[in-house]
Subunit: 409 residues, 2 copies
C-alpha cells in the first residue's frame, strides 16, 4: 500500500506557510505501515493541479490532499478533483446546514460564497469538520482512493485522527500497531546511545527516537497479523527499554507532559498555584488547556514587574535590590509568597531573562530560575536556555513541568 | 523565469524531518521574482529521483535540490544528476583538500567514504561549503540550470545567500516586490466578496487573500523592471483596497496582532492589566512574547476558580450565584476589580466555557464574555466560538486583542 501527499496552496509556494501537514501525515502513514514515496506542493492553478493529481494517481493507491477548500474563487481543489474523476459536485445538505449554523452562532451574516464549501463530489464519504467550515471527503475510483482535507493544521489533524485513520486501517492489510514512550529530563543523543544496541538489532518491532522541545519520544512499531501479537511484541520491547531508561518515561498513553502532571495532581488530591514572570502565563495556559483542570488549578499570578512581585508575592524590596529579579533568592521568595497567599499544596514560580534584550555578562539571556514547592520543601533550579525569546520561554515551561513531575511521581 | 524545488531524503518522507528548506527557498525565489510552481520531496532512490528530476526539467528553467550529498552509500543525488545529464563525476581537488583538512582539524581519522563528497559532475561550478564537508554545485545543460545544495539548513542557507543568489540574479530578468496587508475583525469570505471586483481584474500587481486564525492577510505582489515602479504599483493597489476594507487593516509591516497592540499601547503611554479565566494565561503569554513589553504590562491574574474571582477581582458572591461565572455581569465585575486593584489605563477580562465539558443548553461550550476597559468605559462583548478547547481559547484571545485595538486605534 503506497500513499502520496499533495499540499495545495500558492501561499506554500511563495514561502508564506511552512508545510507542516506533509510531515504530520508522513509520520502517521509511516506508523501505519503505508509507504510514502513522494510529497508534492502545487498552487491554486487548475492545469497544474490536474497534472499533479493524475501523476500521483498513476504512482500511488492513496492520495491525500491538504488545502484549497476555502470559500473564495481561488480555492479549487474540489472542483479540480471532480473534473479529474469525472464526478459532479453536489450540495451536501448536512454540511450546508452546519455552515449556516456556524455563522448564526457567531451572529455574522454569511457571505453566499461560503456555501461553496458544502459542495462535494458525488458518491464521496463526507468528513465533518468540527473546527472550521470546510468539510473534507474521501472518494474512491478504480484503484485510487483520494482523501481531501482542509489546510489549517488545527482542522486537518483532528479530522485525520477522528475520521481518516479508521478508513486507512480498513484499506491497509496486516496490522500495524505502535506505542510511543515519552521521556523527559534526558537528551535525545543520550537516550540514543543508551539504547543503541537495541536500535542496531531492531527488525520487528522497530524502535525510533524523536526529539521534541525538552522531551524524547521513542516510538515502537510492530507489523503482525493480529492485534494481540502486535501488543505482545511491543510489550516485550517496552520492558527492554524500561530496564535502561525507565525512570525518564512519563507516559505511554499519548498524553502530553502537562496532562500527565495534571493527572498526577488529580490522583494525589493536590492543588497547584503558579507565579510567572518571564513565561508570562505560558505555563498556566498549558495547564488550563488540559480539560478537567478545575479541581487542581484555582489561581495564578503573572508578576511581570518588580512591583507586582512585591504586591502579590511579598517579595522583599531588599531581595530585589540586592540580588535582582532574576535570582535564586527572588525565585524562592516568589514561591514562599505564592504558598502563603494561595491555599495550595504545590506551587511553581518562574523568573528569568527571555531576551532578546536585558541580558548582561553575569546574567545572560536564557538565565531562568524555577522554584517548586511540594510537601513543605522549596527547590530552586538555575537553568541556562538557548534560542530566541519564544524558545527560552517554552523551555522554561517544559523544565518546570518536568521538575514538578519528578517531585510528585 | 520559473524554478522548482526538490528535497531529497527518505527521512522527510517518513516525517522525521520537517522540510523547512523548501519554505526558505520559496520565499527567497518569490522575493527575486522567480515563480515556483511546484515543490517536491523524493527519497534516496535512483529510479524515483531520475523521474522527479526529468519531470522538473520539463517544467522549469531552474531546479534547486537539497539533500542527499552525505558520505554514505544511500546518498545518491550527485550520481543521479550525473546520470540524467550524462556527465561523469570528477574529483574536485580543492574540495578533497578541504575535506581532509576539516578532519585533520577535528583530529578525527577521516572515513574513506568522505572523499565521495569531493566528486562533482564535469563542468559544474563548485559551491564551497563553509559549514560542512559537502560542497554544492551549479550545472547548466540546454535550457536547464540545476543547483545542488546540501540538506542541513545551517549549510544550505549560507551557501544559498553567499553563492547562489548572485547567480540567480544573473539568470533572472525583472524585479518582484510584495506587501501584506493584515486585517482583523472580518472573515476571509467577507473580505473576498468585498474586493471581488479587484481580484477578478488583477494582473500586475496581483492580490491574494489568506485566512489565519481570526485574521485575513491580503498579499499584493508586483513584477516590474525597477523597485520604484513595483512600490508605486503596490501603493496604488493598497489605496484601492483601503478604500473598501481600510478600517480592518491593522498593519502592513509584517507585525503580529499582539505586536501591533503592544506598539499602540507604548505609543499612547498606556498600560495593560489582564484577568483571565478560561484562557488561563494565553492572552498574557502572547502579550509577553512581544519583546519590550515591560513598559506597558506589569501584572495579570488568572482567576480560574470563583474564589479567585472574588479574592483578586472583588467579583461579588451574589453576582456569581445569580448570573454564574460565565456571564456579562461577572465579566464586567472582573474588569471593575482589575481596574481598582491594578493601577492601569486599560484592562481586559475574559470568562467563558472552553469545553469539552461544562456546557449547558443556555450556556453552550464556546460561550465567552470579554470585557475591555478604556478611557473610563467598560465594554463587554458576548461571543460564541466553535471548535475544540484549544481553538475556543485561541479565538477568545484574538477577539480580545481585536477589541482592544479597535478601542485605541
Amino acid at each position: 500500500m503506497t500513499a502520496e501527499i499533495i499540499a495545495i496552496g500558492t501561499e506554500i509556494l511563495l514561502g508564506d506557510i511552512l508545510n507542516t501537514n506533509a510531515q504530520y501525515l508522513s509520520r502517521q502513514l509511516a506508523d501505519m505501515g503505508i509507504s510514502v514515496y513522494y510529497q508534492s506542493v502545487v498552487g491554486d492553478n487548475e492545469t497544474r493541479l490536474i497534472e499533479t493529481i493524475q501523476n500521483a494517481m498513476s504512482r500511488a493507491n492513496i492520495i491525500i490532499t491538504t488545502g484549497g477548500l476555502g470559500p473564495t474563487t481561488d480555492d479549487l481543489t474540489k472542483e479540480t478533483i471532480g473534473k479529474v474523476l469525472e464526478l459532479p459536485l453536489i450540495e451536501h445538505e448536512e454540511s450546508r446546514d452546519r455552515i449556516i449554523e456556524i455563522f448564526n452562532k457567531r451572529d455574522i451574516k454569511m457571505p453566499s460564497n461560503n456555501l461553496k464549501q458544502a459542495m462535494i463530489p458525488e458518491g464521496a464519504i463526507v468528513l465533518e469538520n468540527n473546527n472550521g467550515t470546510a468539510p473534507g471527503f474521501i472518494v474512491t475510483k478504480g484503484k485510487n482512493t483520494i482523501i481531501v482535507l482542509p489546510g489549517p493544521p488545527n482542522e486537518m489533524i483532528p479530522m485525520f485522527c477522528e475520521k481518516v485513520k479508521d478508513e486507512l486501517y480498513k484499506l491497509n492489510e496486516g496490522i500495524i500497531h505502535s506505542r510511543t514512550l515519552k521521556l523527559c529530563g534526558i537528551g535525545e543523543s543520550t537516550v540514543a546511545s543508551m539504547i543503541q544496541h537495541i536500535i542496531d538489532n531492531q527488525s520487528n518491532p522497530t524502535i525510533a527516537p524523536y526529539a521534541k522541545a525538552g522531551e524524547v519520544h521513542l516510538r515502537i512499531t510492530a507489523k503482525t497479523n493480529s492485534n494481540k501479537e502486535a501488543i505482545d511484541l511491543i510489550d516485550e520491547m517496552e520492558v527492554k527499554v524500561r530496564n535502561i531508561v525507565g525512570e525518564y518515561i512519563y507516559t505511554t498513553d499519548n498524553k502530553t507532559l502537562e496532562e500527565t502532571v495534571v493527572d498526577l495532581l488529580n490522583n494525589n488530591n493536590l492543588t497547584l498555584s503558579l507565579a510567572e514572570s518571564c513565561t508570562g502565563g505560558l505555563l498556566s495556559s498549558r495547564i488550563v488547556n488540559c480539560s478537567g483542570v478545575s479541581e487542581i488549578y484555582k489561581e495564578g499570578i503573572i508578576t511581570y514587574s518588580n512591583e507586582a512581585k512585591m504586591k502579590y508575592l511579598s517579595v522583599s524590596k531588599d531581595t530585589l535590590d540586592e540580588y535582582g529579579a532574576v535570582s535564586e533568592q527572588t525565585a524562592r521568595e516568589m514561591v514562599e509568597g505564592l504558598i502563603k497567599n494561595c491555599n495550595t499544596s504545590t506551587g511553581i514560580a518562574i523568573t528569568g531573562i527571555a531576551g532578546p534584550t536585558g541580558g548582561t555578562k553575569d546574567k545572560p539571556v536564557g538565565l531562568v530560575y524555577i522554584g517548586i514547592y511540594y510537601k513543605g520543601t522549596i527547590t530552586v533550579k538555575k537553568c541556562n536556555f538557548s534560542g530566541n525569546r519564544q524558545k527560552i520561554r517554552d523551555r522554561a515551561v517544559v523544565e518546570a513541568l518536568i521538575m514538578l513531575w519528578n517531585e510528585i511521581k
